[in-house]
């Protein structure tokens, strides 16, 4: 840079905004940062906004949560209630419960913020689940995004526990029952169960400590970790650039869409307000967790219909469906009826978390993937995902068996038996059915590519036959329907090398080949139409 240009720069009076930016750039290097990111391209698709719903509901939860901490007393000291809610006058309760009643009845807007906080939490978890399934079924978890998949999965699991600890804070009869369940489950852990329980609750259940302890976990420890993960998750999204669906001009080496500034700034920023506004509306019109109707917690009281929030319904279903096995050996008790579900829970959740690594091992594919799959084009993955979802939702439904029983006039025992059987059978059935449907859809796509779209026009041929006229697809549609890759099943290579020495095939390799056949072998995916087939049909031969 020569001296003349420097003086030129100085002689021009820069606008105030630019001067502030200059100041910041000299210290933070913002221009280089902005150069890479300001016009970053984001593709448009509604399903790409699911993650934003998660992010925004998380922000809403933090904002409203900070407000709630200003009024909530995380204390289990016993007080007699004398606030404005008449049916609780004079009732003994913990300060935590009393302050939650105050937030609901005596602090203006407190009830609204409490309800926004709780609704946003339910929606946060639900949106994470849907977002995760979007990523799963489109194969967006493939290289280079496996780590981000794990970050997202961790956020979901941490969200479950943050939600659970928050739900327990008001110390009402419903959440207290949930805490009791947790304590009972902890007791079932062999050898250390009683110790963990005593340490967690500061003595015997319920003691006087758990609200304060859950409070610091709920407002500090878990959200802190989650915030870090959210930031890391977003940095990786920026760094990897967003995936996109196949389409005209969209390749594995580019990303097509609109720039961050101004379009996504406006759209994503606007979407934050839309999400905030809609969640506020939900909180304005629908009650959530009316703790005043539930009463303060007492370990000798309970209400029927005792359920956790939805994201804990899956573990609840596991526990409800489990038969009561208990083994007494040599003066010790193995509480299998509780401990087995406790162990299956990480297994069910973990099954989906490790899937990307299994798939990449089966395919042996080391390339980056930025073009999304249509679920039908990967029948085995899609079938696995649906089977997992069915597994999850069978258990979730099982967690509410008593409500289904009363509202659909069924026997609670029958539902429990149904869940027990469906736990094993339903995922298998779902897997098989989904795979058949996917292959059927692939067949329909191939049909469309080769013969064109059914136009709905009926033509009568000279000899009297009626046929439906098929209109050929345009190049865009043709490209979209054939852009997906198809793997060939792996083979066990030659077992004898070039020198004639026999090579031992490891069982791991055999398993991989077997799985690969299950994924890509004949009958497990439909070979997509080739250009030759297309040309042959289009040239008039073989047209029906």
């Amino acid at each position: 840079m020569s001296t003349t240009t420097a003086t030129d720069e100085k002689s021009r009076k820069a606008p105030a905004g630019e001067r502030v930016a200059d100041w910041a750039d000299g210290r933070l290097g913002i221009y280089s940062l902005a150069k890479a990111n300001m016009r970053k391209i984001f593709p448009d698709h509604w399903s790409f906004m699911l993650g934003e719903i998660c992010l925004y509901s998380f922000i809403i939860i933090i904002l409203t949560g900070v407000y709630l901490t200003l009024f909530f007393h995380p204390s289990m000291n016993e007080v007699e209630y004398h606030g404005s809610y008449i049916p609780m006058q004079g009732v003994l309760m913990s300060e935590a419960y009393a302050s939650t009643l105050d937030i609901s009845f005596d602090i203006r807007g407190g009830l609204l913020i409490r309800q926004i906080h709780h609704w946003a939490a339910l929606i946060f978890l639900a949106a994470m689940m849907v977002h995760m399934m979007r990523v799963f079924f489109t194969g967006a978890f493939r290289k280079p995004r496996e780590i981000n998949w794990l970050f997202g999965f961790l956020l979901f699991v941490l969200g479950m526990f943050t939600g659970f600890t928050g739900y327990s804070l008001p110390d009402d009869l419903l959440s207290g029952t949930g805490v009791r369940f947790t304590q009972g489950a902890i007791l079932s852990v062999p050898i250390v169960g009683t110790y963990i329980s005593m340490f967690l609750f500061g003595g015997e259940f319920p003691g006087g400590d758990f609200v304060a302890r859950f409070y610091s976990v709920h407002i500090l420890l878990l959200p802190g970790i989650m915030l870090g993960l959210v930031v890391a998750h977003l940095i990786l999204v920026f760094y990897h650039k967003h995936t996109q669906f196949a389409g005209p001009g969209r390749t594995n080496n580019n990303v097509v869409g609109m720039p961050l500034l101004p379009i996504y700034m406006a759209k994503a920023g606007g979407f934050f307000f839309l999400v905030f506004g809609l969640i506020t509306l939900v909180a304005a019109i629908a009650t959530i967790n009316p703790i005043w109707a539930l009463g303060p917690y007492r370990p000798d009281q309970v209400s029927t219909g005792a359920q956790p929030d939805w994201y804990m319904g899956m573990p609840e279903g596991l526990v409800r469906a489990m038969p009561g096995w208990e083994i007494n050996v040599a003066g010790h008790t193995l509480v299998l009826g509780v401990f087995i579900p406790l162990m299956i829970l990480p297994l069910v959740l973990g099954a989906i978390a490790v899937y990307p690594f299994i798939e990449s091992w089966v395919t042996g594919d080391k390339r980056e993937h930025h073009i999304l799959d249509r679920p039908r084009n990967v029948p085995t993955r899609t079938a696995f995902g649906v089977a997992w979802l069915v597994w999850y939702f069978v258990l979730l439904a099982g967690g509410g068996n008593d409500i289904w029983a009363t509202h659909f006039h069924l026997s609670i025992n029958t539902i429990t038996w149904f869940v027990r059987i469906a736990f094993f059978v339903a995922p298998v059935v779902a897997f098989i059915v989904t795979k058949r449907i996917c292959i059927g859809l692939q067949r329909r796509d191939a049909e469309k590519v080769l013969h064109g779209r059914e136009s709905g026009l009926i033509k009568r041929l000279p000899h009297g036959e009626f046929i439906e006229v098929h209109a050929p697809l345009d190049p865009v549609a043709l490209h979209k329907l054939t852009a997906h890759e198809q793997y060939a099943p792996a083979e066990i290579g030659p077992t004898v090398d070039e020198n004639g020495v026999e090579r031992k095939v490891s069982p791991v390799e055999k398993l991989r080949v077997k799985l690969s056949k299950g994924y890509y072998g004949p009958g497990n995916q439909l070979p997509k139409p080739t250009a030759e087939e297309y040309k042959e049909i289009q040239s008039g031969h073989g047209h029906h």
């Binding site: 009561g324 080391k366 429990t416």
Partner: protein, 351 residues
């Protein structure tokens, strides 16, 4: 297409021919037709239409402002305890509803305005941005590895094994202080879970009336809850004590009691069972007086109270403990001892 080539070098041999990129030829009917030309929106070519969009966005922002004013007005105007009937919501707090709706409108309209602006007035030309491989080029990798090797060598980390090992030792030990500090989170379990407040001679106090129960109070088919004499709801440790001592009392015709010990431990068919489920500790008291079944509302463990409270359905692993009862000199029901086994959920040391 150069990076495409580069990537396909890494293809496992099994899918080389199947990869789509490799077969792109001039006469491929499935070839990528390329990014389509931008089609103008109405707003791009018709200034009146653009003005309409502009007005719409401005109106949305103004509605938001009005809603915020309304929010503040509601906050000031409505008392916190006034409920009104609003169809179909029911008798809702007018303050809550008005704050909620105005805030929702204020937020939603900002969002709707911004999105409408972006969708109709900002450029909607699609742009393609190149991607670059995430992996570093080989020369960068070589440089990093060399730097690392140089750094490691300079530290003497590999050479001076004593330093390395003692450092690992120190780092491994120091977190133990943190673990030790957690010791005082709570007491050791000892025998705490094995005993309750019940003891020989303690009268059964009706949870409703707080009076001692008499056998003639308890009729067949009734359900009563009791706590041990001397415990009060105002006690410091009431919650922890009632969590173990809670008792449910029913009366069954003695000839309907199938379990011999249950009959022995009852008083003329009055039986006292622990109210705490042996599964995970919910208070179980959904008692069906005709079937004598008690159901737990949390996980549906079902106990037959006429047969030693054995488990007949659900995840609980053992029967509800029974409290042996009798009648004292005043004619009140009393416990003849503590439960002979730990109440509530099973645990490792229970045996």
């Amino acid at each position: 297409m150069s990076s495409q080539e580069e990537i396909s070098k890494e293809n496992p041999p099994s899918e080389q021919d199947a990869a789509h990129g490799a077969v792109v030829t001039a006469d491929d009917p499935f070839a990528d037709p390329g990014l389509p030309a931008h089609q103008p929106r109405k707003q791009d070519i018709d200034e009146r239409s653009a003005k309409r969009s502009e007005r719409m966005v401005a109106i949305l922002f103004m509605v938001s402002m009005l809603a915020t004013v309304a929010f503040i007005a509601s906050f000031v105007a409505f008392p916190v305890d006034k409920n009104v009937f609003v169809f179909p919501l029911g008798h809702v707090s007018i303050l809550h509803l008005s704050l909620g709706v105005t805030l929702a409108v204020a937020l939603f309209c900002i969002g709707a305005g911004a999105v409408h602006w972006a969708r109709t007035l900002m450029s909607d030309v699609e742009v393609a941005d190149e991607r670059h491989p995430i992996e570093a080029p080989p020369e960068v990798k070589q440089k990093v590895l060399a730097d690392f090797a140089a750094g490691a060598a300079e530290s003497g980390f590999g050479r001076r094994k004593l330093l390395r090992n003692t450092m690992f030792g120190a780092l491994a030990l120091v977190p133990l202080s943190g673990v030790v500090l957690l010791r005082d989170l709570g007491p050791l379990p000892e025998k705490k879970l094995r005993s309750t407040l019940w003891a020989k001679g303690k009268q059964l106090i009706n949870m409703n009336t707080h009076e001692p129960l008499r056998p003639e109070d308890v009729v067949v088919g009734s359900l009563t809850f009791a706590m041990p004499e001397g415990l009060s709801e105002h006690d410091e440790n009431f919650q922890s004590e009632i969590a173990k001592a809670a008792l449910m009392i029913i009366r069954i015709q003695p000839d309907e009691i199938k379990d011999k010990r249950e009959l022995e431990w009852s008083h003329q068919g009055i039986v006292a069972f622990s109210k705490i489920c042996t599964h995970v500790g919910c208070p179980i008291s959904l008692y069906e007086q005709q079937t004598h079944h008690a159901l737990c509302p949390c996980h549906q463990s079902t106990f037959d109270l006429s047969d030693g409270a054995r488990v007949i359905f659900g995840p609980a692993g053992h029967a509800l403990p029974q409290l042996r009862i009798g009648v004292n000199a005043d004619g009140n029901l009393e416990a003849l001892g503590d439960f002979d086994e730990p109440v509530g959920p099973a645990f490792w040391e229970r045996g």
